[in-house]
């Protein structure tokens, strides 16, 4: 556990929570990133502007962060695996109605049993997949 970073993790988590509260208070929307992304491509086009603005803000934050703290990060798994991973994440979040933010940060904050079940399931399968990737394959 020499890689444990409790202070930055907690502080970052609080910012994520505050951002979710901000979006709900100002826009009346749930900060579920998969839902925001999938809705961007929904037909017929509806409320795209705020979705695009939220995602632009997410990406802008990355540029600002890199300017302040130059560092690179990569998953160190191959592109084929990443393509499979991306497809599973896109497919799964759409039929499951949420991801780490929608079911996790926001759903748990609403004390939703549906979201709690989703979080427990994706944590469990995530841990299983990482175990297979790192210790079996």
């Amino acid at each position: 556990m020499d890689n444990f970073t409790p202070l930055s993790a907690l502080a970052g988590g609080v910012l994520i929570g505050l951002a979710s509260v901000w979006l709900l208070a100002a826009n009346g929307r749930i900060a579920g990133v998969s839902g925001i992304l999938h809705g961007l491509f929904a037909q017929p086009p509806g409320d795209r502007a705020w979705r695009a603005a939220f995602i632009a803000g997410l990406i802008a934050a990355g540029f600002v962060w890199h300017a302040l703290f130059p560092a690179t990060s990569s998953s160190q798994v191959g592109w084929g695996w990443l393509a499979l991973a991306g497809a599973l994440v896109g497919f799964g979040t759409r039929i499951g109605g949420g991801c780490t933010s929608g079911h996790g940060v926001c759903g748990l904050g609403r004390f939703s049993l549906r979201s709690l079940v989703a979080v427990m399931v994706f944590m469990a399968t995530g841990m299983a997949a990482t175990f297979v990737m790192r210790h079996v394959l």
Binding site: V21, A53, G62, T130
Partner: protein, 130 residues
């Protein structure tokens, strides 16, 4: 519009500060049998502490509707999402903010993620609800 941009920006800074935007750190959390990094429990704990305290009065003023049922698409979708998360270490928010690193692997992931969303729409046309 501006408020959504600001919320997205703050959300993104939180992802970077917390370490969630680093897929290796996410995988170190999911790898409970390895050199386990419990940091992400605190990310989720910190975020949920804020939403749990502030959401209830806000939700009373909003007209949002939420599903409460635990059904097969929820379980299947969450299971598949988790597998994808556990393979690459990216979930949707971190993947989008990591586009800023201009690394090809993130573009591959995000393109596949959008494609997976389209596939799901064909497979299960009824729109989901969180």
């Amino acid at each position: 519009m501006i408020s959504a941009l600001g919320a997205g920006f703050l959300f993104g800074i939180g992802l970077w500060l917390s370490g969630m935007a680093n897929p290796r750190k996410v995988l170190d959390f999911l790898d409970v049998s390895g050199n386990w990094d419990p940091s992400l429990l605190l990310v989720m704990g910190g975020a949920v502490a804020v939403t749990a305290a502030a959401f209830r009065p806000l939700l009373k003023k909003q007209k949002l509707e939420f599903r409460k049922d635990v059904d097969i698409p929820l379980l299947t979708g969450a299971a598949l999402f988790g597998i994808g998360w556990g393979i690459g270490g990216y979930c949707p928010g971190p993947a989008l903010t990591a586009l800023s690193s201009l690394s090809a692997e993130v573009f591959v992931f995000v393109a596949a993620m959008v494609g997976g969303g389209f596939l799901a729409k064909i497979a299960a046309p009824a729109g989901p609800g969180a």
